[in-house]
Symmetry: C2
Subunit: 213 residues, 2 copies
Amino acid sequence: MTGQVRTVDGRVAGRRGQETRQKLLDCLREMLSTSPYRDVKVIDVARMAGTSPATFYQYFPDVEGAVLEIAEEMAEDSGGLKELVDGKSWAGKTGFTTSEELVDGFLAFWRKNDAILRVVTLGAAEGDKRFFKIRMKVLNSVAAPLAEAVRNNQGKTDKTVEASAVAGALVSLLAAAAEHGKAFTSWGVKVKDLKPNLALQVYLGVTGKKPPK
Amino acid sequence: MTGQVRTVDGRVAGRRGQETRQKLLDCLREMLSTSPYRDVKVIDVARMAGTSPATFYQYFPDVEGAVLEIAEEMAEDSGGLKELVDGKSWAGKTGFTTSEELVDGFLAFWRKNDAILRVVTLGAAEGDKRFFKIRMKVLNSVAAPLAEAVRNNQGKTDKTVEASAVAGALVSLLAAAAEHGKAFTSWGVKVKDLKPNLALQVYLGVTGKKPPK
DNA sequence: ACTTGTCCTGTCATGCCGTCAGCTTACAGC
DNA sequence: GCTGTAAGCTGACGGCATGACAGGACAAGT
């Protein structure tokens, strides 16, 4: 699908070129997690990678372009989140374990990619379609199978559109908790209680029942 | 409380100075809602205000400093959100109306200030304490009275800490919906259904019961 | 050794950042 | 009206980031 990796001016990148390119992406990633997005400069990334700004511009149109690259890579990676829901049981105690593992996995994924996800979230909020699409891909990797679970476990009274809405709300809540965990602790939620609380919310949303003790 | 407005180098600002300062803030606000945060430049703000970059630096240390100013102003303004909850009844149909009006008011506030709130949210996520504090002030203007409502309307079994947690989760959901409304519509939630759905969630969270039809 | 195509950097023009000295304006005291 | 003082603003400057280009370094094949 992707064809070959190409430079900005259309040349195909060879082995050495791809290494340099990757190194730049890695350094940018590192940079994003240590500096505010607004302060990330091409020259700093290039320096960190032991190369020159000109080299950076051979492979990426600008910082945003390179960020999109990283974000797309992460979005691919987010496909693995599906396995946290797909084919899992939501019955009784097993169901609550499913919920706990989902919360755990989701938060872990977010924490691992928090720097890049911050930028993606900002871009999406600013109305950039490319970032929006990437964000939806990540959220949908959980929301889609979760909606399916809701459909299978909720009563038959609700319409199909409700299931997606419930799943969306739950995923939004998880994302908010992952991105602003500190807000919850300042609301009196102890760090160790955050995951159980979220797991409870998810279980309630999917099954509509209180979990077994 | 605030004392006088001062320039960066310590002079007190007079009438004309305050006007210029305010004009710069207004233009920055405008700028933020039309350009990505990363691309907002001092020189553009100054040009738009019909002044020079040097003047900008007389009143603000940098773009971030000016943004903080706007954000603090907005945080003050957010105090009005309290009235959406304080002294309202959560009983029966009236209760659901309370919930609807809360959702409506919150979303309206967020929409009105969405540009600055995006930046505040980013800053908070990046770990900046000043932005975090401002964000908490906005969220708490709803979360605090909402927690009180939860305590008054939920059963007596739950501990006090739970009420804050529930209120926090609800407010987080509202913020997510306000900031990423498009995500919900792409999950099949029609624009006109978003507010009723949120109102339902809030009502459920506060009272623990389904609303009367 | 020579050729070819990839890869990187030195250099340059441009433009923004952030600071300073110094000019203008407002105003209070006389 | 004159003058001193502080407020208000800007031109100009060194410094740095951006983005483009030409040309040198390098690897691989002939």
